[in-house]
């Protein structure tokens, strides 16, 4: 939403800018020029030129405001503005200077821009240059803003005080700001995608996806109807797991996703996997961190079926305990060495097993506080029982968060 709006604003800004300039230049040079209207009027050609110049400045700026991008953008911006010299700063230092006079004016820029960086308002000022030959007599300082306020400033130098320069510099600064905002958006979008991928890696193992598809494939010839059903379960399961928004979900939805997971796991393991569900229905609306039970169930199934010949029973129970809901996931499988498990919970992943457990544990403690981490009862060959206590209400924990 915001991205599209910003892009639209950027495009509109560029067009306005171009039209403004074209009008200005057109009125200045209208005398005695004739051209083939089929190849565009001078106004139109000037518009194309401006748009082209602007488009050249855009790509560097979309990478954010750094010394490198500023240098690349500065020359195109100066030709866009048609000023004597142009300077770009960030909040701390001068990033780029384009045009003459840089050697003796550059040092004064921070002092000149300080006020604008502080207040975010454009201003114009006399340069007080001691050299009478220097063309840089007046400067217009305009802020470059991003989502978090003023990022830097654009300083345009002219030979005299000019309303056109003021207007042009502020418009260019606004256009640059839009580009910078888009740059920030790009960066945060990348961060979100990275975070999502990290989260998904922790939550859904690629093995599971591979195995599920393999199991479904095995039914395609023998039992196409079953294969079709499983494929639908798989689609629902992945759709739920990959949903893009929301940190929290209702227990009922989580259980539905677990049901799909178990249907898929059941397709692979057949009758060796037995599952019991015991649910107190009043805790079904409890809100809990998204996908925090599925790894526990996956873990239980994995442990339960490690010894190939034996069957396994996984029991998932949710019961009411006043202001909390207590969810347990229990299996009668191979269990785990408590020392190894402690290492896993400490964040050391010795054998690569139980990463799901430590991820869930961490998220639960983060959301509800240290006393709400996983309580795991296990021993080698003793099966495993994982208990989670979920408060029915906690500030900030709601489904739309």
């Amino acid at each position: 939403m915001t991205g599209i709006a910003l892009a639209a604003a950027g495009a509109a800004g560029a067009v306005l800018l171009a039209v403004g300039f074209v009008l200005g230049r057109f009125t200045a040079r209208r005398a005695g020029r004739t051209a083939d209207p089929g190849l565009g009027t001078p106004v139109e050609r000037a518009t194309f030129h401006t748009l082209h110049t602007a488009s050249l400045a855009a790509p560097p700026l979309r990478a954010g405001l750094t010394e490198e991008t500023a240098r690349k953008a500065a020359s195109t911006l100066r030709s866009l503005l048609g000023t004597e010299a142009l300077c770009l700063t960030d909040r701390g230092a001068v990033l780029a200077w384009d045009g003459p006079g840089g050697e003796h004016h550059r040092a004064h820029v921070p002092a000149l821009a300080a006020d604008t960086l502080d207040t975010g308002r454009s201003r114009s000022a006399h340069t007080d240059c001691a050299d009478p030959a220097c063309p840089l007599r007046w400067a217009v300082i305009a802020p470059l803003t991003g989502e978090d306020g003023v990022l830097g400033a654009l300083v345009a130098y002219g030979s005299r005080e000019s309303a056109v320069l003021v207007r042009a510099a502020t418009e260019v600064a606004r256009w640059v700001s839009v580009q910078l905002e888009l740059a920030e958006l790009d960066r945060s979008r990348t961060r979100i995608v990275e975070a999502e991928i990290r989260a998904l890696r922790a939550q859904i193992s690629p093995h599971f996806i591979f195995n599920s598809l393999a199991a479904i494939a095995s039914f395609v010839r023998t039992d196409p109807e079953r294969a079709r059903e499983l494929l639908l379960e798989f689609a629902d399961f992945t759709r739920y797991s990959f949903r893009r928004h929301g940190d929290f979900a209702q227990l009922a939805d989580e259980l539905r996703s677990i049901e799909q997971y178990l249907a898929l796991a059941g397709a692979r393991f057949g009758k060796r996997l037995k599952v019991t569900l015991q649910i107190a229905p009043e805790v079904l609306p409890v809100t809990l961190p998204f996908l925090c039970l599925q790894p526990l169930v996956e873990n239980a199934v994995k442990h339960g079926l490690q010894e190939r010949e034996r069957g396994c029973r996984v029991t998932i129970a949710a019961r009411d305990a006043g202001a909390e809901a207590v969810v347990t996931v229990e299996d009668d499988g191979v269990g785990m060495d408590p020392e190894l498990l402690r290492a896993v919970l400490r964040g050391e992943h010795p054998a690569g097993s139980g990463i799901g457990l430590s991820n869930v544990d961490e998220r639960l403690r983060q959301v509800y506080g240290p006393e709400h981490g996983l309580v795991i009862e296990t021993g080698v060959g003793a099966g495993m029982k994982v208990t989670v206590r979920i408060p029915k209400y906690r500030p900030g924990v709601h489904r739309s968060a």
Binding site: H245, G246, Q250, A252, L255, R256, I258, E259, L262, A263, G266, K274, V275, T276, L277, Q278, I279, A280, P281, E282, L284, P285, T287, A317, R319, D320, A321, G322, A323, E371, K392, Y393, P395, V397, H398, R399, S400
Partner: protein
Amino acid sequence: MNQTYAVAAVTAVVLATVLIGALGLRISRTTSDFYVASRTVRPGLNAAAISGEYLSAASFLGIAGLVLVQGPAMLWYPVGYTAGYLVLLVLVAAPLRRSGAYTLSDFAEARLESRRARRLASLFVVGIGWLYLLPQLQGAGLTLEILTGAPDWVGGLLVALVVTGTVAAGGMRSITFVQAFQYWLKLTALLVPALFLLAAWYGDGAPRARFDAPAVLREHTVVRVADTVRIGLDDPLTVTVTGRVDDVPYDHGTVALAPGTHHVLAGTELAFAPGAVLPERAATGADPLGWSQPLAGGHDGHQLYATYGLILATFLGTMGLPHVAVRFYTSPHGRAARRTTLVVLGLVGAFYLLPPLYGALGRIYAPELALTGSADAAVLVLPDRILGGLAGDVLGALLAGGAFAAFLSTASGLTMSVAGVLTQDVLPSRGVRHFRLGTLLATAVPLGVGVVASKVPVADAVGLAFAVSASSFCPLLVLGIWWRRLTPPGAMAGLLLGGGSALAAVMATRAGLAPEGWAHTLMAWPAVWSVPLGFLTMLLVSLATPGRVPPGTPALLARLHLPEELTGTVPAQEVRR
């Protein structure tokens, strides 16, 4: 009355409660019925659970008792208990569910973003919970006393033990099925005997119950006066007395009492001849039985004021009862919460058609209960009195079981919510062990107070809890949901002033500190002035502290009022179903 049947019925109800609570989970052993097991509770089941928890001793026994003594003006109690749900429905139900709050303290914290406001709300939850638990335990004591002759504290202790035991041991794994079961049990237990009793009454020539004149005893009746009372006579009356009347001892002495007021000492037995006019109890302000007197007595200002006091307290107080608020959490979304409340209104309203019948029949067949101070037992003794024999025993046992279902369901719901709040906000640290301590504390306090406190008719005692709730949580919920300028200081001041003053007035009245006359009426029925006081304080203090409006208010109000399919929290087909 046959003790064996009654004790068996009570035992069966207790056992069923414990078993359903422990085992009443939805269990599925194949993944194919996972879907059924993990489907959220439908409005019908949830409404039965809410109604089961709501219909307490006051509804099952108290209303009939009050009607017996004071007449049809007492019907305002069930009307108020029902209409409270309408007010809750239109102002609170859906937004409360959407807030995600489990307890009222949670709501205070979510809305005001203030831990201090949360703690204050918690104190009121506990206070109202205790006020409401007290009559449940006393009612249980009375019931067991009538049934088995056990001392009056045994029944309360039994209920407290069963509830504390199951809740603290983690045995109450699922309360929804328990409460739903108990609604239907209570309805059956009241409906089936009522049909038999009405048939018998019709066979008896359908005598009219008269409330505008003193009751006339139909047969030879011996009344044992439990507490010292003053009785008023309009006409001379001849009775046989064993005990003390007007400080004169008698032993089977025949006494002709002159018109006027007489003093009958506790434990005295009065034997009336058939056709005798039953003397009326002369109530004083300190006499707890006189509590509802203003409601029924004369057509003066007191009566009108007391009626509106009752109406305000019950209409506005239901939404602030701790055990009512938590049940709305079970609804999957706001729209389901609304539909659930609509079903609750139907179920509760249907139930309340029955208790007044018992009150009227009691006025005809057992009017002497008014004199003994145990009018709350009217429902229990009627089958024996009207039908007698095996039918009377069996139906009496059914009623006894229903009464115990009422104590257990309301007491366990209240204990769960009070214990939850105690554990979270009052006791120092958290954990499973503290929840047990909280449970113990939640029942021990009202049990202890019940032993020392004077007996007030249960419906009256419950009315007090309503008054406090209406003056504290009603303003908090209504302004919290509909007014964006509410601030934590405003809310806390309103809770303290509105709820605090109602609580103080109620306590003073119960302690017998209220002076006679208007002062007594004003203090016994505080809602008329304390509810506006609570609202006004919240409004004015909030307006005076505009800088303290919680920053998340607009976002929270949007969440409270936007339908779920817009906030994307529930799949659209789920909501529209």
